[in-house]
Subunit: 320 residues, 4 copies
Amino acid sequence: MTSVYREPLYDVAQLGHTELRTPDLEASARWFTEVYGLYTVAEDRDRVHLRAWNDDVLSSLTLVASEQSGLGHVGWRTVSPQALDRRVAAIEAAGLEGRWVDDSFGHGRAYRFTAVGGHEMEVYFETEKYRAPAGEEPALPNQPQRYDPHGVAATRIDHINLLVPDVPASRAFQEEVLGFKLRERLEPTPDTEVGAWLSLMTKAHDLALTREPADTDGRLHHLAYAVESREDVLKAADIFMENGTAIEVGPAKHSRTQGFFLYVYEPGGNRVEVFAGGIHIHTPDWEPVVWNTESGGRGSAWGTVMPASFMQHATPPLPV
Amino acid sequence: MTSVYREPLYDVAQLGHTELRTPDLEASARWFTEVYGLYTVAEDRDRVHLRAWNDDVLSSLTLVASEQSGLGHVGWRTVSPQALDRRVAAIEAAGLEGRWVDDSFGHGRAYRFTAVGGHEMEVYFETEKYRAPAGEEPALPNQPQRYDPHGVAATRIDHINLLVPDVPASRAFQEEVLGFKLRERLEPTPDTEVGAWLSLMTKAHDLALTREPADTDGRLHHLAYAVESREDVLKAADIFMENGTAIEVGPAKHSRTQGFFLYVYEPGGNRVEVFAGGIHIHTPDWEPVVWNTESGGRGSAWGTVMPASFMQHATPPLPV
Amino acid sequence: MTSVYREPLYDVAQLGHTELRTPDLEASARWFTEVYGLYTVAEDRDRVHLRAWNDDVLSSLTLVASEQSGLGHVGWRTVSPQALDRRVAAIEAAGLEGRWVDDSFGHGRAYRFTAVGGHEMEVYFETEKYRAPAGEEPALPNQPQRYDPHGVAATRIDHINLLVPDVPASRAFQEEVLGFKLRERLEPTPDTEVGAWLSLMTKAHDLALTREPADTDGRLHHLAYAVESREDVLKAADIFMENGTAIEVGPAKHSRTQGFFLYVYEPGGNRVEVFAGGIHIHTPDWEPVVWNTESGGRGSAWGTVMPASFMQHATPPLPV
Amino acid sequence: MTSVYREPLYDVAQLGHTELRTPDLEASARWFTEVYGLYTVAEDRDRVHLRAWNDDVLSSLTLVASEQSGLGHVGWRTVSPQALDRRVAAIEAAGLEGRWVDDSFGHGRAYRFTAVGGHEMEVYFETEKYRAPAGEEPALPNQPQRYDPHGVAATRIDHINLLVPDVPASRAFQEEVLGFKLRERLEPTPDTEVGAWLSLMTKAHDLALTREPADTDGRLHHLAYAVESREDVLKAADIFMENGTAIEVGPAKHSRTQGFFLYVYEPGGNRVEVFAGGIHIHTPDWEPVVWNTESGGRGSAWGTVMPASFMQHATPPLPV
């Protein structure tokens, strides 16, 4: 066994940030700050940089004014400068041509590339941390920002779900090039992988890839922030209800990842999740779980019916 | 910055198991199974092998009949066979002489050594996983065992706290040789480090080292299992109360790690914690937090008074 | 205002117990004790008397072997012997003929009658309390029984929902004769009251009356026990899932009562709810809430789709 | 038994409001609104009228500028105008001379009297309810105000604890005259009742009376608002910590009432509690629990040490 064991790779540390496009920057920014509970760290005419109170990075979400909703890019932070070099080499060895970008808000130079499946991604290491202004330091120094909850009080960026035309191809790319570990696969019938859940360290997932139902690529299914407890997801549902934010489905429990979920749409049209819990995978030789008709099929854990929109809608929306 | 950045090491994956000594094996085994909520996976005259329902390893705790309470050994599981070889090489390069042990329950060959501070430890990779008996499979295949809670329903082994005569020396050893990341340090006055919290991946801690108040070494402060939520720690307090298990302190919130804690003594005399939450550290360049009088001192987060026993008692107890 | 104010009546204290019929007494009793978490206090060939750990009465549920599922009777406990006499006088003044029953398990003489809508009910005062056996007393003397959770650990009988052919008639009867306070009404269009939620003291409801969709009467929609928190309802869902108990709908939040719900079927076919929370009504002059298309309609609070079975199924089932 | 059974009285419905004195009205009002999470409904130079988001009355707390901290008065709301007349007759029959007050904010005429023990109280029926402004109605019409949590988000007025020189005398007065039900008594040794917990309907308590340690009367031990869950009390502790509000003791569990508690001081010096849970008493013939050395003594449920200040401090403070 020892001789052929392939070592897991720990070169990428975390989902550092994402960029979302919105056709109504002002409404999206207001919703993310007042209802979802994020904080604005910087903004200009076209962009608003946001953070959750417990994000260790300075900004985990940038909203960009755009004609359409959808994903701008996803930023993966490496564990070291050396790991960044290694990942860039691997990307290029895989035949992709990326480019270095050096003028981003909140972090250092990043290597930008289009992943298999059509999404813009970047890898980078150097990042700016949040420093509380004088007089607003948190009571406990092992926390980046005071706990001063408002709205949903989203705690920390958690994961992103992207639609891809060919799940096995995109999944294999992420495993090979960035070192993602495959945790679970949805494969209703043999050789029809329609979903893959992948993680960097020990979380249930940092990245999910699900099959694009339309003839397009590069679309976003959802972006998720974590809250502290399932009770906080329940409170979020009430807060969304009070604020007129339409709930698509939830709160309920996923079969995959066992996370507790709640999906809504932000005013720009992007689907956003409030997530809690999920399995933790500490074992280094995890055997990916295959979900098929025998092992429990597609449904959510307790039988919650996922609406058709959940399978069909993504951003940007398809041309009519 | 890039040229001198020291890369974090991810060679050790998890706290795999511990061995505890008890002068009353039967009472300890009954308490751990009936009150703490663990499951017996095997036993013989001298030993009882236990697991929590969500442990991925087969057995995370072995109780050994012994004249005195205290720690038998701690087992750290590496991420690969190659990582095991690297860690053994590092241990030996540090001048320690260990030995290979090949007859342990539940896992493959392990390299056993005495860490700086006097505790028996081992590193190993191959491990037996728990397989549910036919007909008792969990409903969700991404979970090792059915959720059938009884008692405290401890969920998963979490961390261990060991007393060491020289915290900086033991801490530096663990950082250098096993690749632990230092997260927090308790240093009431400059150059008097009396506590260190260390982790392997992204947990608040897998190992804590605190200063031995007596003229001895190798003693155990406590072993901790996690439960799912802070509410579960509160329920645990009621269950301990109903079962006559003396609560030493808690439930309350630690300043270090921000975990929610509850300390009790098992019938063999070892201190056991029920733990929930704690910060998650995804950033790879975490700057260790130093707790001194300026940053908030020693207390628990909300001012809970830690009893004198918490600072003084450990196992084995000192000779009178 | 003062001169015409009708005083609220507080003659009935609590839902004391219910009797459920089951065609499989053994399976029902096993499910209620092992999965739902109740305790058997007495049994004979045809009946099993159960209690929840925090019920103040000795037994809150009797299962009776029967050809069909459905309700046996509902027992309402008065606040005093005098109040019992007053309620019996009111029942008889309303033109109903009941009878005194004096051989029930766990409580004293009761006046049994058929309520408007066809359900057997009784009012009584004297009741036997649970006394913990010597050596099994709870740690806190303000609690009837030790907290020793297993399964769902249902905490206390909460409410019952009955199908009635004519909601306004049945509701008015309960208000007039037993002193129920009307809290909420479901009236999709004017003069079509299809649901009424009624309470005795300050709970969200002790009794719900919803419209019988078939040409029959006396049927049971569901019986509900409370648990301590919404998190406990979520845990219950996992426990039901592990035990193969089919979840009809939930966990989710009711609009009416704001309770957090989870509906399943016990092996005898009766629908059983796990309930948490719900509004508390301390104001004595509560203005009943009317739910119609304008005020938010029929749905659950967060948009959970109630399955058709929830509207159609009841016990006993209709002849095919 | 039947012939001598004394019927419980349900003439008083709820703790309607309290008035607190504060030497720093501005700081107290800021703390109650920004940290404790109440809402201002009206104010003038000397008074600020506050409500919790789920209070059914318009205002449950009035802060009054005063030289000293302490209680202004406590308002008990009856279940009807007739019940108000009955209670006034009972107060006067007990030899007390009160007076009608007819100019209070938020409620109708009230009968004001000095209770045995020296506290100003009033009974009243007519009250103003909260009506959400147009456009700010809650999503669910069975709730008075939108759920838009900030700070601790105290949910609803819960209970008040008053120090009295002679507990049995004050307790008997409240039982006889207002119809309070005695739930629990603290009586360390026979005939030394030092605490009494009393309730109106089914809550664990609406009023607690504990022994005044000094040679004075009319002092306040604490005022308590409820939150939805124990988890919310834990969150409150973090919020107080972040805002520099000193925590006296908690979060922890009371033995009496089994409520989950957290005590702090508002800037005016009055002790305020955040409370969750507590037993519900539905049985009409509850036998009051006597806590003495045999039944478990004085401590909190899990052994939390109550600081000396908890036994000694009250408002107004004693002259030095």
